[in-house]
Subunit: 368 residues, 4 copies
């Protein structure tokens, strides 16, 4: 929609702000009342995407301190919009006049100019990765609300530059041990070496982020167009550098046979469970009670110091070197962004699933 | 959303109907007035997903004849809702009482029961592949509207059971030559052989569908959450058997370096173009004027005749053989469904892109 | 929205069809599963708007029989879209070529031509009152669902041609005793006399419809833009002939003083109640537990047999007499339409109100 | 919707903030790029709703200075979200502990508590009239955009406490001459006298606001549910104190006859026009090119100093006097709020009307 900065229906997130404007903000509307939340809790999530944490991210000094401006009273959400903002410190900053004149390969400079006639060229403007601050602040609230319902969302680096992590036994602690948020210390070291190499070559690296949603009740997601997987795909694909999304076995399922790919049901005490989880926890677009698995393919950072061919606004072929210091890889800082989008989407659809049965609705209104 | 059977904002599609109910229908609302359309034109699209076309699809005899019920007057769309219906012929059909009692692996039986308390178990009910009839009828209208604007949408089988087609030179004729809609006759033959083999083994096969949108103007898609690729991902992931979606280089980009993955801009006469198209025609969520490429991973048909383990509604572990004759592969019949969803999404967002600049809006209202 | 034929968010209604097309239909999506519903029940609602019931409505013979096409299985809603249709009997009908050429005063002929370039001129096409068949069929489902929750929606003629009914003691039976659905037999007789007079003068009459929603729990409606009264106003104003909507004291409140208009709260046993109800059951856009009162101003039927001045498509001033037999008043047949729109809106917002508190959401998911 | 703080589809406004929180803000998303806008221009609109302008509004000293935080670059809108904020000066303020314990008659205290379990009780929290700051800031942008297209939106006080203004010849200057924004100096004086009287009696007064949208092209508004008048009704009814909305002849039409109420069409040179405008510029939900007239009934200020009966949170009947100084009338300050909501709604629907005809869409994309 022309108004493209909102996501979600009942739990709706609207972000605003440019990389080098006054700040980056988000309004979270439809958050149920009575959730305990604070700037401290949200800050923890934001710190995971903050620049300058490791040598694999830009050393741009931003504290990225979040401020809650509305919707929280006496430590709890009031049910009305929660406005949050992170003010930019480096607003004025350097001279961007050169970048204004040409189109950086792999960036949205050209398409913004084509769509809007001109663009806020300072540091990528609205298409900058800084926009994801708003997503993470909103995602923090979704994550905290989900926790209250026994649902946990956890993302990590599954692969970097083709080096894949063994993820048979992942924990939050393992994830946090790696500067790349890769829960396999051997693979993480290999990846770090590759990154050093590519940084020396003035190049950049891509990777895959995996996200697990556990504890989600059955019945979340709507048939046909508003399937849980369809909305998760949109949620995650809306992150700037993501070029692919898959659920469960994903693209691998395309070369499997039905007898391998089908997950057999089995009784687990009184509960229905599955012997395998190629479906990734979603059948017919609706959660089946298993863990939901999704993976996002993240392209290498488009900003590289190497010389590149491009064109300028005067229609001339030119060569450019993107100055400044840029992350040689987007993946680690995008981990919490994927987590956030998955949480926002899952919480929104979980709320919607409350209205699926007359029986439950009657019970609900009898009780209150 | 709890109301999950609609897709699109300005051009909005709402499907209804169950596999063995009275029929499958769709309401297309927001279609601009004055588009020439007829049942004959729409039927051509529907015939591409009709069962019984080849020996690789179920021989269930359904004519799937579409009837336009509203919104078209004197051969042209009126701007009001276009209701279309395909009545089911085999409505009463056989006895489904057995299938009612257990959960078919890989199907939505269990999740529908969990979500809604019970389900229309006849032939999959609402989660049946027959629901896509409505998508294709709507997609036909989107495709015809896009053609008027010089935009062409074309999908085909990119891979079947791991056998990949050479798609360097695809045409609609080449696609139609293959019973599997695979525009590479050598690969198609190989795939047909694999299918025969797997049919004998009472098994099924998955594959990959690729879709190309060509001729789309620059500037389609909105920044942040309503990116063109995000909406395409949702559109395509909402198709029952799809487990993954990628744009341009997709998952391959995850193991590329920035210097390879970035598409250099270059002047092509007076126009900006790109030397490569790893971006798949979309930068920052907005069309860049190149062809848009997307691929969908389709899982193997879950209905297989082989014995499978599952549970019944009484909570018992059982073994079942899914009776009846089922497609050994979903891919070929889903090709036109992917095409339809891509067209619906692209047309909707193209309409929305008309409001991006005040200058254009002023020009528009000066002219009318 | 360009796609303007849908109403509601979680409980969403989409109508289609033209006055003299194949039929009039509606798709109800998001209806909770497990609601007992049948064509017989829905038909009762439709019969209240059917033409030819009294001499104050057009004697056009239409049975207006509803057919359920999907979404109901074994007598209960399945949670998937409920498609309903009423086929038109008089589809081919008479010659409309004359009406095609000019613009009837008070109708949408001119604005449809301006907006869409042409129109389906047969009997008003999409802007015909017959479109409301879809609303009533959907409204019937909303009413039945609300009844399950103890909520009752009841509308009636409050005034006709300036003759006002005494509505201090209204019941459904009283409403049904009057051919004008006016629950005051003395006023009804007066209004009938006025109607006879105006019919002789080839003229038409307007009136006011009042609607009461009783039994609705507190807490329905959202602050700010999605207020319950704001959505009710939209719902009711979207009915063709409605030119005004008011809640509670409505326009009278504009000439009251705060000391009169404020409703004092008082305890009623353990419950909070109000001494008066000028607010009409809504405070700050949220239901307060009192009866909700709304009134709609309905203009006189624009189709009158008297000679009228207008213009034709060739840009000439002309005089016309609208041929055919038309209702001399819209009000009585619109009563059930107002009831339907109020019910659809109230049920949709009631569902949404389930997600307002974390505490309730936790309780809900603990129980299921 | 549970997320109730947004209005509009293509041009979408989201407000946030509480009366005594950090500030009141709004995010305007989907505003076309290239519109010249500045804090100065927006401030002019805000100054019309600022308190303390006359003795008929609360003397609370708030500068209500707006700050643009994003979406404007080099003086022009960029097409991305425009975030605006007015920081509250009197945030900490006095002791609200008493007001926290009871429910003010005519306010949303009780319904907020019922809906959300508790409320931000400081000065009305989210349900305070201060929320409309966000609406006016957004409305200013809509008004400025509409001006570029030759559309003008103008509201004024039509009646105050039953005293009606002669509005046969209204101008912006006349409106601004009256401290009550009543464009009839005689009526304004009478109303001022009534206000003095009622202020002495510790009472408050209601009134009617009229709004005229002139210059709007034909074809704006969608048939059926998204009628222009239906959306205007929602837009205006969503303002806190509004209890009724009417278009054109409105409630008067209910006692008119068809022969009086129908507006005859006539040629005006080459253009179709109407001899009268009882329709208020909208036929079948679509603008007909005449001026659009709407009126809103505004209730008297609920906060009055007189003693009132109510209940407290402990379920006791009590008497209260609302302390502090409150506006004795809401109408004058709400004039610009009605104007804003009408402008937001009209601009949104005007954008949507661009996609009604294939012919125009083709022309549009040929040109760009």
């Amino acid at each position: 929609m022309a108004a493209g900065s909102s996501f979600g229906n009942l739990f709706r997130v609207t972000t605003w702000g440019e990389s080098h404007g006054k700040g980056i903000g988000v309004v979270v509307d439809g958050c149920p009342a009575g959730l305990e939340i604070s700037e401290e809790v949200i800050q923890k999530y934001l710190n995971r995407r903050k620049p300058g944490q490791t040598r694999y991210s830009t050393p741009r000094k931003e504290d990225d301190l979040v401020e809650i401006q509305s919707g929280v009273f006496e430590g709890k959400t009031t049910g009305t919009p929660i406005s949050m903002v992170v003010y930019n410190k480096t607003q004025r900053s350097k001279d961007y006049s050169e970048i204004a004149k040409y189109y950086r390969p792999g960036h949205a400079d050209y398409t913004f100019d084509e769509k809007f006639g001109f663009r806020d060229y300072r540091g990528g403007g609205r298409s900058s990765g800084r926009e994801t601050i708003g997503r993470v602040a909103a995602g923090a609230i979704a994550c905290e609300a989900l926790k209250q319902l026994g649902v946990n969302v956890m993302a990590y680096s599954k692969a970097i530059g083709g080096i894949e992590a063994d993820t048979t036994d992942v924990s939050f602690d393992k994830i946090m041990e790696s500067p790349l948020y890769m829960p396999d210390i051997v693979a993480s070291h290999k990846a770090e070496k590759l990154l050093e190499e590519k940084m020396n070559e003035q190049d950049s690296v891509g990777g895959i982020i995996e996200c697990v949603i556990s504890g989600i009740p059955t019945g979340v997601g709507e048939p046909v167009f508003e399937k849980l997987d369809a909305n998760l795909a949109k949620a995650v694909m809306s992150i700037g550098a993501v070029k692919g999304v898959e659920i469960g076995a994903g693209f691998e399922a395309a070369s499997m046979y039905g007898s391998d790919n089908n997950d057999a049901f089995k009784m687990d005490g009184e509960n229905v469970s599955k012997k395998t989880n190629n479906a990734g926890g979603i059948l017919g677009g609706i959660s089946d009670g298993s863990d939901i698995f999704l993976r996002a393919a993240v392209k290498p950072t488009p900003s590289i110091a190497r010389s590149q061919e491009t064109v300028n606004r005067d229609g001339e072929d030119i060569e450019v070197q993107i100055k400044g210091r840029h992350d040689p890889i987007i993946v680690p800082r995008a981990v919490v962004v994927v987590e956030s989008m998955a949480a926002i989407c899952a919480f929104d659809m979980l709320l919607e699933s409350m209205t699926s049965k007359m029986y439950n609705i009657k019970k609900y209104f009898e009780r209150i």
